[in-house]
């Protein structure tokens, strides 16, 4: 057991590309945790997808020794979708290193995480990174940090994680400024699960921070939220390789393997206590994961449905925040309605399903969860637009709202405000971080953010604006469901909930798009957009007049027969809606265009 006074627990708060991984690598090197021969750049980002996207999705932690002290570097997820997990990682720390690119300044998400650290009463050690860059302007951005966060500019370190300059001083500063953890080793055990991942061979591996008491190997532990009891198989520390230990005392960070089958059984935020002598209260701050964004996932080939179910179940072993339930669509067949923490989470989950499980998937447009208040006084939650009750049964619809924080160079203020305005945003606050940079706080309906808001923001500001958000409750608005009808029959995949003022535009856009995509049939096919029974837009796919092979080539009957076989096979694979035969590719193209 390490004496708590020698321990320092900290996270690095930083924006994508501001150098967190490089700094982590440098710390591992300087503390001899990893020798140069083994040094793989960005050692801590191990998942393939993470390395590709240059972001950290799943937190890892590592123990290093610096002079007489033991440092636990607790890595945090680098995306706003995983805000809750960030808060749990911070709850395992006594301090943070705020790492800011000296050529770019603080960004929205970094700022949000700093506020979170301040809420947790964590000590902030600020450092401006990349001072070796010609474009670095540390004085300017030190002033900005002082202005925004109230941290004295002269106390801000100036380092280059790349060259190693100032990193030794940073480590010393961590030891001297971040408080040691406190806790009674003899008290009943309370340890925080701040990360949880799935290992194919060992089952669930939890990252834990002991707050009070002592976690011992070969003891029995109890999980407060899950209410389950487990035999401890192994506890240990990561340095960064797993090293089993006999016990972990107050302030220590390590891993716990206890025969847990799925991460959902030991969620982030869970409190571990001793089964024989349980603590009376769990640690504060636990939340069930709440999916924010939903979409239908369908196998491209209907025969792969069991494979998709299997893959989702396996994915859930390692990602407890994904939800799914069966869903049937007339247009797309049988699939699953899946819930995610946010858009990136959705993309990652889908990519993992395709990459790790070899599936080909169709995804519907992302949706949010509405609350429909019915005229009979009851309410229901609706995460699939096609399930929204008819207008005559509806009293009102409420939708989830986000509080957005946007930091942008001030020259783009106009275009950013236009974007927010167009997305039904309401300006809450506006403040200058410096004469050149501005912070804007908006409330915007989540539904308006899930459709390419981030891409729009980036392209309008040439990539300079940054965004953070947090849920801000529900609000009613004048929302309607627009259905798309093909030859009179609704196409569920294209139903959408839109603001009334936007409904005509949506209807026209979808019908025009489908007119291009739907192949001509033997009869005229009306494509209509409707609200309830009222048609708001209409297009027609004219009946085809010619579909015949002109000639057989000098007795080559085979060629003709094969062409017909192909056409017949194509028909067999088509979906039929309102007697209209539609190739699946048409739906896929339409869904893609909608994004």
């Amino acid at each position: 057991m390490i004496q708590a006074g020698r321990i320092r627990n900290f996270s690095i708060i930083s924006h994508v590309d501001h150098g967190k991984s490089t700094l982590s690598d440098r710390i591992l090197e300087l503390t001899h945790a990893v020798d140069a021969r083994e040094m793989r750049e960005q050692f801590l980002d191990s998942m393939e997808l993470e390395r590709e996207r240059g972001i950290t999705i799943k937190a890892q932690n590592v123990r290093v020794h610096w002079r007489d002290h033991v440092l636990h570097l607790i890595d945090t997820p680098g995306h706003v979708d995983f805000g809750y997990e960030v808060s749990r990682s911070l709850a395992a720390c006594e301090g943070v290193v705020l790492l800011v690119d000296a050529s770019q300044g603080i960004e929205a998400q970094t700022l949000a995480n700093c506020y979170l650290a301040l809420e947790h009463d964590l000590e902030i050690v600020a450092a401006l990174n990349k001072i070796d860059l010609p474009a670095a302007d540390p004085d300017r951005y030190a002033g900005e940090i002082e202005q925004v966060l109230g941290l004295p500019a002269e106390g801000i370190l100036r380092i280059s994680a790349k060259t190693g300059e100032g990193v030794v001083e940073l480590l010393d500063e961590i030891v001297s400024r971040i408080p040691a953890p406190r806790g009674d080793a003899a008290a009943p055990l309370r340890a925080l699960v701040f990360d949880s991942y799935y290992d194919q061979y060992r089952g669930v591996v939890n990252a834990v921070r002991v707050v009070e008491g002592t976690l011992r190997s070969r003891s029995r532990v109890r999980l407060f939220q899950a209410g389950s009891t487990h035999e401890v198989e192994e506890i240990g520390i990561r340095s960064p390789r797993n090293e089993p230990v006999d016990e972990l005392g107050p302030g220590e960070v390590g891993y716990l393997i206890a025969g847990i089958k799925a991460v959902g059984e030991a969620r982030v935020g869970e409190t571990v206590t001793e089964a024989a002598r349980p603590a009376t209260e769990p640690l504060e701050g636990y939340q069930d994961p709440k999916p924010m964004v939903f979409c239908g996932l369908y196998p491209l080939d209907g025969d792969e449905l069991p494979d998709l179910r299997d893959a989702l179940e396996k994915l859930q072993l390692s990602d407890a925040s994904i939800t799914f339930e069966p869903e049937t669509s007339a247009a797309l067949g049988v699939g699953f309605r899946c819930g995610y923490l946010g858009l990136l989470h959705m993309d990652i989950a889908r990519e993992r399903l395709e990459r790790e499980f070899g599936l080909s998937l169709i995804a519907t447009a992302p949706s949010v969860e509405y609350v429909a208040h019915l005229t009979n006084g009851s309410s229901q939650r609706v995460d699939n637009p096609s399930a929204m009750p008819a207008p005559q049964q509806l009293e009102s619809i409420e939708e989830p709202i986000l509080a957005l924080t946007i930091i942008t160079p001030s020259e783009y203020t106009g275009t950013v405000m236009d974007l927010c305005q167009a997305r039904r945003g309401v300006l809450g606050k506006m403040q200058y971080l410096s004469p050149e940079r501005l912070e804007l706080i908006y409330t915007v309906p989540l539904a308006e953010v899930v459709v390419d808001f981030f891409d729009q923001l980036k392209s309008r500001t040439k990539g300079y604006a940054s965004l953070d958000y947090e849920p801000a409750g529900y609000q009613p608005d004048d929302l309607v469901k627009v259905d798309v009808l093909l030859n009179g029959a609704p196409v569920d995949a294209f139903s959408s909930i839109v603001h009334k003022s936007r409904s005509l535009d949506y209807g026209r856009k979808m019908t025009a798009k489908l007119r291009e995509l739907i192949p001509r049939q033997l009869f005229d096919v009306p494509i209509q957009a409707a609200i309830g029974g009222r048609i708001i837009a209409r297009e027609t796919v004219k009946a085809k007049r010619k579909d015949v092979l002109a000639k057989c080539y000098g007795g080559d009957i085979t060629r003709k027969r094969k062409l017909l076989d192909k056409q017949r096979e194509g028909k067999r694979r088509m979906k039929s809606i309102g007697r209209v035969e539609i190739p699946q590719e048409a739906f896929i193209s339409a869904l893609r265009l909608e994004e």
Binding site: L522, F523, K544, R545, K546, D547, V548, L549, A550, K551, C552, Y553, G554, G555, D556, I557, T558, K560, R561, L563, L564, D565, K566, Q567, R568, E569, K571
Partner: protein, 406 residues
């Protein structure tokens, strides 16, 4: 019997046939090979690649063929002497239909006389259009006057009948210019007893495929077809296959045999043949064909033998395109009023494509079912696969083999 002559003076922009413009030096050797091959098959020996990959000899019925069709390419590009000895190598009965495809530019009185003496009973003229704008757009060289003199030469040589091939949907064609071409063809002296009119089709890899601005509009082509059908019927030329019209008695018997799933022998490079359910094809390159015949090897490089259900479905698909139509029981269209407009009943219980249906023949063909519906009279075929249409999977189970080299 089909003989393929893979030589052309130039290649038309839309053409995806097997033909060559740079191998005229091969012509004589090629004709030698064809003649040797004709002698071999007329003795009853046809070598076909079997599904297991072995080449074996199959016998066909020896004796003169009922029809002989020399197609291309451009058979009229052969030297007259080569054409004569080729045709004379084929045993014939007095009633054998002998068709030679010809380019109007090549049909001089001398050529027509040679063809006549060699036994030609029918000339198929590749006219395509009488509109110079349209001809230019198709990448064809001849002019309209060549057609009139070719027709006169055919008549003077005493060849019994001729047919005209037309293409509609080319760039620059209008409804008026199409009507003018049709009228011009009917006004030829003497008028043709047979016309084929094909919708211009964009084939992959052709010069036409690379010029989307010249691609035909299918709706316009449908209108052109209707115009042609109206004018031909009024002139006494009756449709008997989707793209073919003839005065009664002048239908092309050779092509009718294809559509009746009959047997035919394949002579020449890239020629297709059919014997008792096995379809086969000769090697594509003329020089390879010449080599194979010279060294006593089979020129056949591909064959397939259809499973019974697939063969039956194929027969229906072919019949549907003709005036014969298909038995009602094989076309289950239910009470769909849209489909009902695509066919009409003939006197004898068959369904025949209506004019509208001919333009949508693929849609109708996709609904054909090889096994009669349970409601129809029991037949041996119905007993084999009761109540279930043959699926494309049937043909997938048919054996197909390909040999890369000969």
């Amino acid at each position: 019997m089909y003989i393929h002559i893979p030589f052309c003076a130039r290649r038309c922009d839309y053409c995806a046939f097997s033909t060559w413009t740079d191998r005229h030096f091969l012509r004589s050797a090629y004709v030698d090979a064809c003649i040797a091959h004709v002698r071999l098959v007329q003795s009853g020996v046809v070598e076909v690649v079997c599904p297991n990959g072995d080449t074996t000899s199959t016998t066909c019925q020896p004796g003169p063929p009922a029809t002989l069709y020399v197609g291309g390419g451009t058979p009229s590009q052969l030297e007259p002497a080569d054409l004569s000895r080729l045709l004379e190598a084929v045993e014939r009965q007095p009633a054998t239909e002998v068709t030679i495809e010809a380019n109007p530019d090549d049909v001089t009185e001398t050529w027509a006389g040679t063809a006549r003496r060699a036994g030609a009973t029918r000339i198929s003229l590749g006219v395509q259009s009488l509109d110079p704008v349209v001809l230019g757009g198709l990448g064809r060289a001849h002019g309209a006057t060549a057609v009139a003199s070719a027709v006169a030469a055919i008549a003077r040589a005493g060849i019994a009948s001729y047919s005209v091939d037309l293409i509609y949907g080319g760039a620059g064609e209008t409804a008026e210019s199409w009507r003018a071409t049709l009228q011009g063809v009917l006004d030829l002296d003497p008028p043709p007893q047979h016309v084929s009119a094909y919708a211009l089709t964009v084939e992959a890899g052709t010069p036409l495929s690379r010029h989307p601005s010249r691609h035909p509009d299918e709706d316009e082509q449908a209108s052109r077809y209707e115009i042609a059908d109206t004018i031909f019927e009024a002139a006494g030329l009756r449709w008997y296959e989707i793209s073919n019209w003839a005065k009664p008695g002048f239908e092309c018997r050779h092509n009718m045999n294809y559509w009746a799933q009959g047997d035919y022998l394949a002579i020449g490079a890239a020629a297709h043949g059919h014997l008792a359910g096995t379809r086969f094809r000769n090697t594509t390159l003329p020089e390879r064909y010449v080599e194979a015949i010279a060294s006593g090897r089979s020129p056949v490089v591909w064959s397939e033998t259809l499973a019974p259900a697939a063969r039956e479905l194929e027969a229906l698909e072919l019949a549907l395109r003709t005036r014969a139509g298909v038995p009602r029981a094989n076309l289950p269209i239910g009470d769909d009023p849209v489909l009902a407009r695509l066919v009409q009943a003939d006197g004898g219980g068959n369904l025949v494509l209506s004019r509208r249906g001919r333009l949508l023949a693929n849609e109708v063909a996709c609904r054909l079912s090889a096994s009669p519906m349970p409601s129809s009279e029991p037949s041996p075929r119905a007993a084999r696969r009761p109540g279930r249409p043959a699926s494309p999977g049937e043909s997938a189970r048919s054996a197909e083999t390909q040999r890369e080299t000969v």
